[in-house]
Symmetry: D2
């Protein structure tokens, strides 16, 4: 497992052209059931309901992160940077490849609904009774721990952690390019070759040479655009809300002893939060979609309705509200109830605080959130000190509060709703 | 339903940039459960196991076929061609959009295993008790029949049929571009704008202006390359073979009264070929993958093994054989059986005759297989008469016979295999 | 000339794929000597010395501006906007096609050196004794005046002016895309299809539908990046400075009665600012380069040196200085003179005020500099009121003062330079 | 000059993204006047009159050939192929970079008109009193001879020659990609990464691993398409014919003692074929265009007319003729003369034999024209033995004979032409 492959293997990839596999261990890891499972988990959850091209999986993203990491390390080695610890190559490559191993189906919603954390699960899979664990151990007994430490960000070589998680890491670079490619949105196009050439290890961090500042500006602008155009798209938020409601309803029903016509393992364990690693690995989006398909025939009207909406993309509509409007939301809720609507499932607020992604905010003081430029005198500067454009976009907090609701149901009871509510919803 | 939409709606598409929806009916059809189901059926079946980017669905392909058809008709109308029957616009658009509605999960394999035909199912869905049928009927009582007739290629306006199915139809143009985009293979890039500008209706057919000959040559060469690089890729064939074997085994077991630990409707109806339209519409790739996931725990060793292989991409290897080698195949089969391997499931021949796609072969005499060029004197010529390059590629019959087998199992029993068999399989 | 062409003609264009010519007049204008001359004038002047791909001409840019304008008008007509005066189509198309007709060779430098203005020359060519004028007159006697009025921005239909010159006009959209394509810099990629769909004529202006805000943000960010990465690139500035110096020196020599070994018409008229239209049309970059090639053999050492540098890309180096440093510049100049360097030609300051391009600055109060968004209630808002990102980039005034000098010459006299000057220039 | 550069330098390139310069010598060679001159010579001669984007220079192509060669060698070194002589790296890189140094303006036409050969001139420049020669000598006294030998294809390490000139060399790969990019024609897109990975040195040749066969097929098909769509485009041929006629006429006039109003050195030396290297290096397309610009005012009506046509793109039209039609051509010529047209300059035949480019024809027996595949048993096969598609396209000899003539002049004298001639020219 320590050896290089006799002959390099490649995967054809639409984003990086080719993914180059040069080590026996990497090849073996890709072929484990745990890694192959990522083929059945989409990179962007329900985004395919907004951008139909976004059907790409975490499998392809993980290969992409691995490839970018491989190229960075190869550039570090070619440049002969003494701040790069050469013996860490394999730890870094494995962490890059495996960092998303613990993602569940429709990750953000399921994590929220069941209070899970994919990073924890990644570590459990790395350290548990799995094929991946067995392969990693062939390097050394504590090799799985090392990889897990990198993912938990507490590995004792911070430059390795930095490579895999930082505001300019291989993960973000791959997903920007990949999500732009598959959605068809061209905002995410970045000059990755130039960025990679500008990176160098320096005193335990990965920093950017000053002459790469414009390329980093462009990367942060691309990221900013992708967030607002794709990741926070209200239609995607709407489908995430449906998902959360389905999970919430199913959990309630299970807790209340409701007898499901259709139930598949390991869902009960998910509801009660008692999943083993082996059970967790059974969870994928095919299974979730199949269960939802069948739940369209459940007795429970709420679950049945929600699942029908999700499967047939009959999503909730939305209106924007002021942040301070919590009173009026309460009023709407009461009016809904009075009109016979479900005050919990037929009305949902989405606040920016629920947004699962982080925008670049260097000011929060965490050094790991900073992008550092290295000038010719080997002095470091945080990029927003130097770049007007970065300073201006990192200061923007766009708070969009939105109210989501089933337009068709509202339409049905509109005679029972007060005039101002009807005006508000424009019905 | 007859009206145009108040404001054009668009879908962002990585291949065509935008899909433009201008008619209320088209919008409503896209939102039916029957059409949304196509999101859960991949355009290229198991090809994602070879090219990991190929995770795109028939949903996006169907939108693409619709869009190309819309552009062709719009060009016909702008050019004022009298051979184009304007009143057929909506029939053509609906046929383009809905032509793949009857595809099942992993279509080619399932059709072969259960002797079904997706075109039949498309017509059944168009004409049966479905949302799609109800919408089409709002145009006129016989409108569903018209659309079905176009799909069955017996509509009485042949130019409409030609638009939707011919060697240079919207279907093929979209899939070449789309499959090239998502696999990342750049062989399928064609100059679609130029081809579309060169098409015109002429005496009941869609023909190409002579000055577009090079663009058509390029299209046919792209298609030729895609067939050999992508569609007939031996790794894809290998995964199709696994699929076929799983279906075959499950059908056998069901017929024999085997008690499955896990069974989901409507699979039994599939095994016995007694599916209603409503049941058929329950079939999607999520369901199939979920069943296979669970069948990894079945008692039956064959089914269990095959499903494990499929889910974890542990595919059969292959060797090329001579076409005439049926005797030696028989010999191998006997040697396998003697060594304790399963002579049916552990050895499979794949012959070009099983190839599900048609290469351009004008010589088979079917006029519908011809691409006609229209010269300045309004004379028609079949393209392979004029183009050396088309003539040469259409004559190529590349017969690749391949033997597929589980390398790991062979390895396990290699001591029990005769020397020449071991040499043949290089073990 | 009023008729459409029998059959549409197309130009293959790498940026817009095809340029569609539908009118006899447009076709005839493209074939005039005045328009063909634009093939011999580069779109980006000396930028090819920085980005070697930037060898594209104003000819291809002019076709691109025409094409974008054609698409916008066609969308206006399809959408049936009553605020678009249909009878102005041809005026707008001609103004778009011909707006750069008056550009001279290495336009920005030559205009600065000889106090000319390409817009004036465009109007002179439109109205003078030219092929273009004769063709335009075939539409009507005052048609050339109409086209000139649009270019001078005083045409009485402001919406037409707006289409051709505004912060979101066809000119800027084409050059962003085209310059990005030919330099190979991918910052200029914009979603032009989306922007075009979002434009509409409204009360005498071309405005943007509010839902297009993100696309406009992206366009302005792309423009911002192109300015700093390409248009203001210090190496390009350096070559522009050489050009200016050559022109300045030649003018001086001519005024002083110096006898040139090589002189070509119409350069003397350029020096004395007495060019006729016919003479002006003789000026192109081939002629300028040929003269410079020959001037490498002139007696005058300054001219000879400057021309040699320009032809062989032996450019001046640069250091950044503080804006307030005018005293120290004077000091440097004296030190240069004392060391035997030429205090005028061997030292040049480049200040942002010399920058030939405008960055988007809505705050300067000119309504023509504003991009207006139209919301669903048909209210207009200036974009920087609504968009944080636009507000932040439009506030940035990056003042870069740079000192340009011939490094090799400095090196030669370094022993004669004071220590602090040597330190400053790092020699 | 032997050392690597302290820090790698890069050129931004639209085709290869970045050109990487790692050696001091390469950097210095790029900055010589001889190499910078290539900026003033277009890669595709007059093709910009057909495809307006094709304004790219031999400078950018030469950098591209260098870059591909650098990548191939780097892959050879990484793979540790013993058949690659490592010490030849710099010879190969220099030959790649400099192989086009001897090209003149509008190379193909000027070579034909004045019986020159650009390869000879390249060698003269390498070996003569030039900056390039001085730099090369800094490596070793006979280094310029080595580079020249590679270019003359008689270097004693055939694998180096093969790298720079063979049917799959860096030159062809760059021009296919580059010409496709700048014309905007997408036929030339090839998977260069894959091809480069598949090359290996083997017994003194560069061969292709068998698994790269499809990529080579695709490359040859792209090349085939580019030849017919771009390189042999009749409009380009028409402008080449004008050029040839101008050169021919000027030579005649010079020989006859005609007194030119305008003449620039080194044209007389070109006419009399007595150019020194220094004079030859003065020739570029700017100079030629400037002379033609001025010759529009010459006394000689033929020269004046031809130059006006060339500058203003008023090209000859063409009709296709049968190869065997030499009698009828003679008849036409006589009819032209009788009608007062110039029988020599107003009628020109273009035959495929004049085509300057070679199509892939392995059958001519020259081993240097072959592409060899290396199978797993290390056996070599010529590609057309194995690939049907290559066999079919390499057999095609498309003979297009065309007659070029000035349509406007014909129109003027049409009453004096016999009816059948008028019918033939459709006037």
């Amino acid at each position: 497992m320590r050896q290089p492959l006799g002959e390099e293997k490649v995967f054809k990839d639409p984003v990086h052209n080719y993914i180059h596999v040069q080590d026996e261990l990497i090849w073996a890891l890709i072929n484990t059931p745990e890694f192959q499972r990522l083929r059945r988990i989409r990179q962007l959850g329900t985004t395919f309901l907004t951008f139909h091209g976004a059907e790409h999986s975490r499998f392809s993203h993980s290969l992409g992160v691995y490839e970018i990491t491989r190229r960075i390390i190869s550039q570090f080695e070619r440049s002969g940077y003494s701040d790069w610890p050469k013996e860490e190559r394999m730890v870094a490559l494995c962490a890059a490849l495996l960092h998303d191993l613990g993602h569940g189906p429709f990750s953000h919603s399921i994590e929220e609904a069941f209070e899970m954390d994919h990073e924890d699960w990644t570590c459990k899979i790395l350290l548990g009774d799995t094929e991946v664990n067995r392969l990693l151990k062939q390097i050394s007994e504590n090799f799985p721990d090392k990889v897990a430490a990198v993912i938990r960000k507490d590995y004792d070589k911070p430059v390795v952690v930095n490579l895999v998680s930082s505001p300019l890491d291989a993960d973000r670079m791959d997903y920007l390019l990949r999500d732009a490619y598959f959605t068809g949105v061209n905002y995410g196009t970045i000059d990755i070759d130039r960025i990679l050439r500008m990176l160098r290890p320096f005193h335990g961090r990965v920093v950017v040479k000053e002459s790469g500042m414009h390329a980093v500006e462009d990367y942060l602008m691309a990221r900013y655009q992708m967030y607002w155009q794709v990741y926070f798209h209200p239609v995607t938020r709407s489908s995430e809300i449906l998902l959360r409601q389905i999970f919430r309803r199913a959990k309630e029903l299970w807790a209340s002893g409701y007898s499901f016509k259709m139930m598949l393992d390991p869902l009960p364990g998910l509801f009660t939060r008692e999943l083993t690693v082996a059970e967790y690995l059974q969870l994928d989006e095919a299974l979730i979609q199949t269960v939802f398909l069948k739940w369209q025939n459940e007795e429970d009207a709420v679950l049945k309705d929600l699942c029908g909406r999700f499967m047939n993309r009959n999503l909730y509509k939305y209106v924007e509200i002021e942040q301070s409007d919590s009173e009026s939301v309460e009023e709407i809720r009461q009016a809904f109830e009075a009109a016979g609507l479900n005050p919990i499932y037929d009305l949902e607020i989405d606040s920016p605080a629920d947004l699962p992604y982080d925008i670049f905010k260097p000011e929060d003081g965490l050094t790991t959130n900073q992008i550092l430029l290295l000038d010719r005198q080997e002095q470091l500067k945080e990029i927003s000190e130097v770049s007007d454009i970065v300073r201006s976009i990192s200061g923007i907090h766009r708070g969009r509060y939105q109210l989501y609701y089933p337009q068709d149901k509202l339409q049905n009871v509109k005679d029972k709703l007060p005039a101002e509510i009807r005006a508000f919803f424009n019905i």
